[in-house]
Amino acid sequence: MRLSALNKLVLRDLVRVRGALVTSGFGIMAGTAALVFFLALGLGVRGVLLGEVFPIDQVELEPPKGSSFGQLASFALGGGAKAPRIEKDEIEALEASPFVAGVYPKLQFSFPASARGGKELLGRDLNTGEMIADGIDPALVGEVGDLPFRDPLEACEGSGGCQRCATTKECKAPQYCEARQNEKGFCVDPVPAVVSRYIIELFDKSIAPAHGYPQIGEKLLSRAEGMVFKMWIGESYLGQAKQGTPRWVHARVVGISDRAIDIGITMPIQTVRRWNVEFSGDGAGDAYSSVMVKVAEKDKVGEVVELADELGLTPKDTRARDVSVLLSGVMALLALVAGIILIVSASNIAYTFRVLVNDRRREIALYRALGATGGDMMKWLLALALTVGMVGGAMGVLVAWALSLGADRLGATRLPDFPFKPETFFDFPPWLVLGALGFAALFSLLGALGPARRAGKVDPAAALAALQ
């Protein structure tokens, strides 16, 4: 049967039995709309959670928690507690794995510190009684803005060198004197630091409104010179380092990075190593507190975690995996609901088409007499079902999209601001739209398959004779 002839028969039917077909198509539309709406919502929320809140393309590994007192506990003990360690051979084993795209060791402060600053942005200085900080390989952070993310002492190497100093007064702002107490040092730029989007969101959405501070997220990103603050290293409210003399250093937030720790600041690992040695001894600088592993492919996180387990390392944060599992479960449940609607729609189509075939036995028999094969009659019915499915499916996608716009509008106007509140809660990737249309077509075809087979088997002689 030619496509043009099939098209002609289907178009005639769309006019002839539009009432029944609209009813059938409505079910498909409702099922598809539910499927697309729920999946787009799940994908949108998943994108925000796993893309911004808990990135899943990286996993941070650390020694088992039992072997560490934790950073704050360590400070409470005057920095005397033995820091958790990851040795170089473990780093090399991770680097050799085909599932790993990159390994970036991290080193926590092994000494207490506090900080003060922010007046230029907030109107008055903020104090933090404890400063939590990590050191990280600058290669992992990459470009975060116009200012370099590297140990400021690196600038003193080579031919140019840096000005020698004993106190910061001898340096030209914003430089400060990086020197141990009673020793000569160098005038260097503030130590660059990056922060997480999470902490900025937390500040902007929770702390700033409570204390009347302005939001800083956008400003921080747009300020080329960064926000400079002072850190008191070697001592905090909780205690003092086991060795060394506390002193002031200067730091500068140069940008936001996915590689930064959630709460605290992240600095070049070379700087942290130097300070750890200063306040905790030589042993605090030659091993790592954790390691950030970039996974080659997102679905290979499991293999990386298995390898880490063999090395005696555990994921620091399983929230991404937990959230992923939870979201997958919720999406599967909602998709199941939509699937049930589609199955009901398919049974509705089956009923409609069964009635259609019964009503048209004479017409089918006539077509057989005029040269149609049983297969032609099947194709006719299936093409009609496919049209109903595709039109119903397309309408369903449009309805889901319209509902998502409404939901986003409600979300924007009725929901209070919260960290990582997205502009849209929905994601409509092309595969979702095409897949939904495919499902709509599939369920329509499944519904019509039985009646179409009956149409193909109509006995023309009996059908024509019965109506003589």
């Binding site: 049967m1 005639r12 004479r362 006539l366 007499a369 005029l370 040269g371 032609d376 004779a465 109506l467």
Partner: protein
């Protein structure tokens, strides 16, 4: 491509058609053998229920559940697949039914054009529409192409069905009680139409009927009773 008509268009040998199982079995066609030559007008005459419509269904390849041997245009029907039979029906056989079996949802012209839906090769639409109008002219329905079948009388509907049957220039026209639903006068005009088609076109016609008037227009008559051939003239 013009297909030369075969010498013997239909050759049915010892055809038997049974309905039902076991003791309830009813023999509708009982060992019927007949030949139809090209250009012949054969009337199969008999009372209602004698099996003539069943026999016509078999001859038109609409019913394949029979015993015996049947060849159409020198091809063994029993050896042909469904698609081949459908092609044979569409290209070389035209059907006219007692109940007309028109498509009520399209106009007269589209009814005439209905067989083109199942032609494999893409037809020349303009040429076919002209041919449909010519055929409507020929059967006395000139200018009625846009009318719906529901607006036509019984005689007009049957003429429309004849025009549909002739669209693809079949070599064999099978008519099942073509005047059965028509009044005497209308039946006579339809009979004259068949006579003209037979004489002017040399069309091979097999018509089953219980009406003497139509049978008398045929070149040969076979009388059927209780599924058996009882007389041939």
């Amino acid at each position: 491509m013009t297909v030369e008509p075969a010498e013997v268009v239909v050759r049915a040998t010892d055809i038997v058609k049974r309905y039902g199982d076991g003791k309830a079995t009813k023999v509708a066609v009982d060992h019927v053998s007949l030949d139809v030559e090209a250009g012949e007008f054969l009337a199969i005459l008999g009372p209602s229920g004698c099996g003539k419509s069943t026999l016509l269904g078999i001859l038109g390849c609409l019913d394949r559940t029979f015993e015996g041997k049947l060849s159409l245009f020198e091809q063994d029907v029993r050896a042909m697949r469904d698609a081949e039979l459908a092609r044979l029906r569409g290209a070389r056989i035209g059907f006219v039914f007692q109940a007309f079996h028109l498509l009520g949802h399209v106009d007269a012209r589209e009814n005439v054009l209905a067989p083109t839906l199942f032609v494999r090769e893409r037809p020349d639409e303009t040429k076919l529409r002209k041919r449909a109008d010519d055929l409507l002219d020929e059967v006395g329905l000139g200018g009625r192409g846009d009318d719906m079948p529901s607006t036509m009388s019984g005689g007009e509907r049957q003429r429309l069905a004849v025009a549909r049957a002739l669209l693809l220039e079949p070599e064999l026209l099978l008519c099942d009680e073509p005047t059965g639903n028509l009044d005497l006068e209308t039946g006579r005009s339809v009979t004259e139409l068949f006579t003209r088609l037979h004489e002017e076109r040399g069309l091979t016609i097999v018509a089953v009927t219980h009406e003497e008037q139509l049978a008398q227009a045929a070149s040969r008559i076979i009388r059927l009773a209780a599924g058996k051939v009882v007389e041939e003239e």
